[in-house]
């Protein structure tokens, strides 16, 4: 399988090559042969969703998406591109930090004694295919939250450990994308095993493939491939560069953390509250929103109990419930909590922003609330109030 002139890693495996359609097919099969569950984008229910793949045939060949605030449509493309769609309704969070996880079970014996058994982590080994730069950053952010602190979460850690990451650089951002202003894309920098950049031009439909790890290079060595050529390299770089210039949205050019911290009583919070349904969709589709609650259940005998963890949302009135009532009783305070946490206090808690600029919260908001628009409005309100020096 060695191509002449391969650039090689220390192990002797290639670090860069050009794949055709057959290379993509082989990639899925090689990863499956390694015992991995391959998850990637596929068209289902008129959306590009993330699902377990049996073959590369299931990828969204020739599908694109049209995105706007509160609007998502798939559309046919004429160029047969596989990765020319931006973020769908799901994110990799669904696999690394599933919506429901049983944490432990407990039995009560006849004399009232208690036995608690921790659930074994699943033995799943994932390969994620087609991870955008923004979502690669989202995974890193989740890593810091779930396994980067004093108490690493075993359920997340076991799923995350050994994930094989095939990134796909973004060449066609959606109208709701703003990764450039969050510094998270569209190019992928580090933290992948293989990175693909799709090129469709007179030279054909192909993928520039780079390895970012020894494991990635080893997989690349098993794929049918061509030596990376300058024309493909240039075309790939140009496609990503063009994507950077095609962002549909941007954040205001200011310190967002300070903007959130210093404007907790801005009038704009009332304005957005008039539009916000407090439905929590933005928290469900966000690739980094990690909040959960616990559910304790018991069976009819009353002697068997289970602890489940499920996704929760800061928009839920119960989220801050104390015995005197909820701390954040008003809808205004709950939208404010979401946004100020996402792009403000996340820095204090976990050392980075919680937003990667994927735009999912804008697309899937039933009333089309756009956090970039809200940030711009808060920035303008703050600027108006600040006397010019």
């Amino acid at each position: 399988m060695t191509g002449p002139g391969d650039i090689r890693a220390a192990s002797g495996a290639p670090t860069e090559a050009v794949l055709g359609r057959d290379g993509l097919d082989a990639l899925v099969q090689v990863l499956k042969r390694q015992g991995r569950t391959v998850v990637g984008p596929t068209v289902r229910d008129r959306a590009v969703v993330l699902a377990e793949l049996d073959s590369a045939d299931e990828l969204p060949h020739g599908w694109g998406v049209e995105l706007e605030a509160g609007r998502y449509r798939v559309r046919r493309r004429t160029d047969g591109a596989v990765f020319a769609h931006s973020a769908g309704p799901q994110s990799w969070k669904s696999f690394l930090h599933p919506p429901r996880v049983r944490q432990w079970t407990a039995e009560r014996d006849a004399d009232g004694g208690l036995t608690v058994r921790e659930d074994e982590p699943p033995g799943v080994s994932y390969a994620f295919l087609g991870v955008r730069a923004c979502d690669l950053h989202a995974i890193r952010i989740l890593d810091r939250v779930m396994i980067g602190g004093k108490y690493p979460d075993p359920a997340y850690g076991s799923r995350r450990k050994g994930v094989f990451l095939v990134a796909a650089e973004c060449t066609e951002p959606g109208a709701t994308c703003f990764c450039v202003s969050m510094g998270t894309g569209p190019a992928v920098d580090t933290g992948y095993d293989l990175a693909l950049t799709e090129v469709v031009d007179d030279g054909g439909h192909r993928f520039l493939c780079r390895s970012g790890s020894e494991e990635g290079a080893a997989v690349l060595a098993e794929l049918p491939r061509h030596q990376a050529d300058e024309v493909t390299r240039t075309a790939a770089a140009e496609a990503v560069r063009r994507a950077a210039g095609n962002m549909g949205r941007s954040m205001p050019p200011t310190d967002l953390r300070a903007l959130m911290r210093d404007n907790l009583e801005a009038d704009r919070w009332d304005d957005v509250t008039a539009r916000c349904l407090n439905c929590g969709n933005c928290t469900m589709v966000c690739p980094t929103c990690f909040c959960t609650t616990t559910e304790d259940v018991s069976d009819l005998t009353g002697d068997h109990a289970e602890r489940w963890r499920r996704w929760d949302s800061c928009y839920d009135l119960d989220f801050t419930l104390l015995h005197g009532g909820p701390v954040r009783a008003s809808e205004r305070s709950r939208y404010r909590q979401w946004l100020t946490h996402k792009i403000g206090t996340w820095h204090d808690q976990f050392g980075s922003t919680g937003c990667v600029g994927c735009g999912r919260c804008i697309v899937w908001c039933p009333t089309g609330i756009d956090l970039t628009e809200e940030a711009h409005a808060l920035h303008q309100e703050a600027t108006r109030q600040r006397p010019t020096p």
Partner: protein, 268 residues
Amino acid sequence: MTLVPLPHRLMSRHRETADTVTFELEPLSGGLGPFAPGQYAMLYAFGIGEIPVSVCRTAGGGRLTHTVRAVGAVSRKLCDLPTGASVGVRGPFGTGWNLRAARGHDLLVVAGGIGLAPLRPLIDSVLAEPAAYGRLNVLVGARTPGDLLYRTELPAWRRPFGAVTVDRPAGGWTGRVGVVTALLDEALFTPENTTAFICGPEVMMRATARELVHRGLPAGRVQLSLERNMRCATGHCGHCQLGPLLLCRDGPVVLYDRTEPLLTVREL
């Protein structure tokens, strides 16, 4: 044991007030800890759920004492448990009182209602080593005389200064009536050389902290124990946020200089 509760047996229970019970737990094997004063455990009532409860006394063999007020499904169940019942415990979690920073200082311990519970192990520690500190002041507020906790221990905390006040007198109460901050006038402390430890309803803590700073205490020497909803205690569930703080991890004990701006924003 941070994720899975360790079974403990309820060794003894004592009804403090109409709705509040103090019980002692002993691990069936091994044990958690050590718990520092101000830290908390997650207490699990079988099949019902789990709540954060500060430790109110520790003893050898991993024994833990907790005071619980029945206000919700889990706390009601815990308060009703008979001797011998099983309780799941996780911990220790959170920041404790920083008593080391208070060595050589006059101490102000200000409690409101059930807020006295997390302060009791702090008082224990001070009384075990009185020479290390200046004057100990214990200021206790309760809604009514019937709501006073640890009644048999209160007399021992009277010197150098200790006092109790209630919001609503009843049953022949001849003691003080009014807010706990009113006791500050009689307390024995030199503001610039004093550390304060406060736990109670948030409105009481805000008022007390503000008053202490007004009297010359550095805000960084005012320690508060805050309360928020906590589901996991390990920094993963997001429920206990107060602005930049995850109170399960960065609290419950926090310094007033950092939290003053957060406590003045409604519904933060």
